[in-house]
């Protein structure tokens, strides 16, 4: 690769993003320098991704950015559309979130890398291909150049996306939620990769809600809340002595900092299973698996993605049939009292129904009273006004609490939380988990937590089961 001059700094000051007359992001200012990566932390909806796209010049139609964004003295916001596009890839490149959606499903990975060499850098077909091979080799994917994205794992897709950004050659890298949807092990390897980028002299701006990522990357941290940068400073300082209330809450929301739950000893089993086996095609997920969850007990299953941990929960609920083994539910209890919380809250609600409509139907079906639900709503910090919205119009944390509300209406004895907080920001995650813990304590129901977050599992669960791939 011909050595481009390194950038020294990216300066953002007075950045404001407006939708029509309304400023949805305000007063964002920070500086990003050589060897000093910046990580923007915040809940979803805090505006951190918009900041990334404002810098990139790729805000959605209808939004416009004002203020100053300068890269080594060049103003980025003042640039024309053509200038902005000319910068993409060559000067600034974005590492997309959920890269398995960001790769063209109909084109082989190798070609998606080599086309960058060909069209951006004007290299001939053969030369482009050999460059692409070395880009892929660098991220350990040289064997998979002929693969399509659906044939790659999440981590491999992430590495392929990194290879593409290498091929593009930009020295300002914006990583947009680079660990979203990845388990802990993959997360660590992605962070390691990002650190390498910094060491190679790239400027790095990372957008994340994962404090572990921010910790591992070091450099500077900015905390965003409701479209404002509420705190900005060196990572160590912010992580140790956060000044803003929200920063404090955010940092305290890291599972490793949670207090231990005080739960009474478990009662008799509500669900138990012995000798469970399940295969998908050629692959055996598990064989002879035993599990038992008692009243008032929290059991966690942890393991990397694809290990079959969700399948176990589904087996217990009877949503999937096992190849061998038996599941025993507590005798004399209605099957309706065994409920599930889903990984992706918006997908667990009918998209075209208001929440009120869904709840009305549920109450009518089981001849329940609105009053009980109103009390529960207050208990779950849910405002009644939210009921008139559709699932995509409330935040993920709120929606997951509605899901808990929905499950609690049926007075469950067992709740299966399937990665129920993996898509939530730390603060919401903590809210939801602690609500669940309190409910377990109050109602004595059995809770099965399926998660890839070992710290979380160890902190909350009485029993942690590890599954390997």
């Amino acid at each position: 690769m011909n050595a481009p001059t390194r950038f020294q700094s990216l300066a953002v000051s007075g950045l404001e993003i407006r939708a029509g007359d309304k400023a949805i992001v305000r007063n964002v200012a920070f500086t990003l320098a050589q060897g000093m990566p910046v990580t923007l932390l915040g809940a979803s909806g805090s505006g951190k991704s918009l900041v990334a796209h404002a810098i990139m010049g790729s805000l959605p139609a209808g939004l416009c950015a004002r203020g100053e964004v300068t890269l080594d003295g060049t103003s980025l916001l003042a640039a024309s559309l053509a200038e902005t596009r000319a910068r993409w890839g060559r000067t600034i490149v974005i590492l997309p979130q959920e890269p398995w959606f960001a790769l063209d499903p109909t084109m082989r990975i190798g070609r998606q890398v080599s086309e960058v060499h060909h069209y951006l850098h004007g290299r001939g077909a053969i030369e482009a291909r050999s460059h692409a091979r070395s880009d892929l080799a660098e991220v350990g994917l040289d064997e998979r150049a002929q693969a399509y994205s659906h044939e790659l794992s999440g981590g491999m897709c992430q590495r392929a996306a990194i290879a593409i950004t290498h091929a593009a050659g930009a020295l300002l890298l914006i990583a947009d939620e680079p660990t979203k949807g990845l388990d802990a092990a993959l997360r660590d390897s992605v962070v390691k990769r990002l650190r390498m980028e910094v060491e190679q002299g790239r400027l790095l701006l990372t957008i994340t809600h994962d404090i572990a990522v921010a910790t591992a990357l070091g450099g500077m941290i900015g905390v965003m809340l409701d479209g404002e940068l509420v705190e900005f400073g060196p990572a160590a300082e912010i992580l140790d002595r956060p000044r803003h209330d929200y920063s404090r809450a955010l940092i305290a929301a890291d599972p490793s900092r949670w207090p231990a739950p005080q739960l009474p000893p478990a009662g008799e089993p509500v669900v138990s299973a012995t000798g469970l086996s399940k295969r998908f095609g050629e692959k055996a997920l598990f064989d002879g698996f035993d599990i038992s969850i008692g009243r008032g007990e929290i059991v966690a299953i942890v393991g990397p993605s694809g290990c079959g941990k969700t399948t176990i929960g589904n087996l217990l609920l009877g949503l999937v049939q096992s190849d061998r083994g038996r599941v025993e539910l507590k005798a004399g209890v209605s099957p309706l009292r065994f409920q599930k919380l889903y990984q992706d809250p918006p997908a667990a609600f009918a998209p075209r129904q208001t929440l009120r409509r869904g709840f009305n139907d549920l109450l009518k079906l089981h001849s329940l009273d609105w009053r009980t639900s109103e009390e529960l709503m207050a208990r779950l910090h849910l405002v009644p006004a939210l009921l008139d919205r559709r699932p995509d119009e409330v935040s993920g944390g709120e929606l997951q609490r509605f899901a808990i509300l929905r499950a609690l209406m049926l007075d469950p004895v067992f709740l299966f939380a399937d990665e129920a907080t993996s898509r939530l920001d730390p603060v919401s995650q903590k809210d939801v988990i602690w609500l669940l813990v309190e409910i377990v304590r109050e109602r004595g129901l059995g809770l099965l937590l399926v998660t890839h977050d070992t710290a979380l599992a160890q902190r909350v669960a009485a029993k942690v089961v590890r599954l390997e791939r």
Partner: protein, 275 residues
């Protein structure tokens, strides 16, 4: 690119009655009024001939002119609209109801039932639709029953296929599983959760199927196997008037304009702004 901060952006206006929907509905109500009330208001017999007024232009005696037999175009258009729109509606309903039901059933139950339905629809698709219509028509030429049965028999497959494919996608989503865990029965799931998801694509399909049905009837008239004269039917009217295109182009176009307005109205009324 999906923006995690989408909730920051003000929600799009989600009023049901968009301007285009409103325009479509107004247009459809006007057409419905013309087809339903028109024949009552126009006191002229649509089959009464007056050779002296052959191909009369629109004017005082005949508001919209007269056809080659001197029959009032206004009366024929009103009666024709009633018959054509009614028949198209009936045909599409006859095609859509079993198509959607079978589609839901196949997506829901799968198994041998789906395979049997799949087989039937494939063979029917491979069998020329024209052949079906012609053969059914041969049993009772010029009447309305076999015509609409034959059209429905070819049109239901599209509804079946689209419903099955869309419903299968919806049924795989977690919210269906969640609803089942919450104790909701199959009828509720299909009616309240699946149907609203597939409704937009089905209404668009139905709108086009309406025009397909009317055009098909006119096509059959063109090969002399449509409805028997002097029934006023829009498609057949176009065929009857076509030879006079050079003398009375407006007359030929009038039934076509009605069909166009119907399709336009349906399109506007069922248009999905977010798509």
């Amino acid at each position: 690119m999906t923006l995690a901060d989408a909730t920051l952006v003000p929600a799009a206006d989600r009023r049901w009655l968009t301007p285009s929907r409103a325009a479509g509905l107004v247009l459809l109500s006007l057409l419905a009024a013309f087809a339903l009330i028109g024949p009552l208001l126009v006191l002229v017999d649509p089959t009464e001939q007056d050779f002296a007024a052959s191909l009369a232009p629109p004017g005082a005696d005949y508001l919209l002119g007269a056809d080659h037999y001197g029959r009032s175009m206004l009366a024929r258009l009103a009666y024709g609209a009633r018959l054509s729109f009614g028949m198209a509606l009936l045909t599409v309903a006859t095609a859509a109801v079993p198509g959607i039901l079978f589609g839901l059933f196949a997506a829901w139950r799968g198994g041998w039932l789906e395979r049997v339905l799949e087989l039937i629809s494939t063979v029917l698709l491979a069998l020329p639709g024209l052949l079906l219509v012609l053969i059914l028509l041969a049993f009772a030429p010029g009447t309305f029953g076999p015509l609409y049965l034959g059209l429905a028999l070819t049109l239901w497959i599209e509804f079946y296929r689209v419903t099955k494919a869309t419903a299968a996608g919806v049924l795989k989503q977690p919210h269906i599983e969640a609803a089942r865990l919450l104790g909701f029965g199959t009828p509720y799931l299909l009616r309240s959760l699946v149907l609203p998801e597939i409704r937009p694509i089905l209404t668009t399909l139905a709108a086009f199927a309406m025009s397909t049905a009317i055009i098909a009837i006119s096509t059959l008239s063109a090969i002399s196997v449509g409805l028997r004269p002097p029934t006023p039917e829009l498609g057949a009217m176009i065929v009857e008037l076509l030879p006079y295109y050079a003398e009375a182009p407006l007359h030929v176009l009038m039934p076509g304009i009605l069909i166009f307005l119907l399709v336009l109205g349906l399109q506007l009324a069922t248009r999905n702004e977010s798509l």
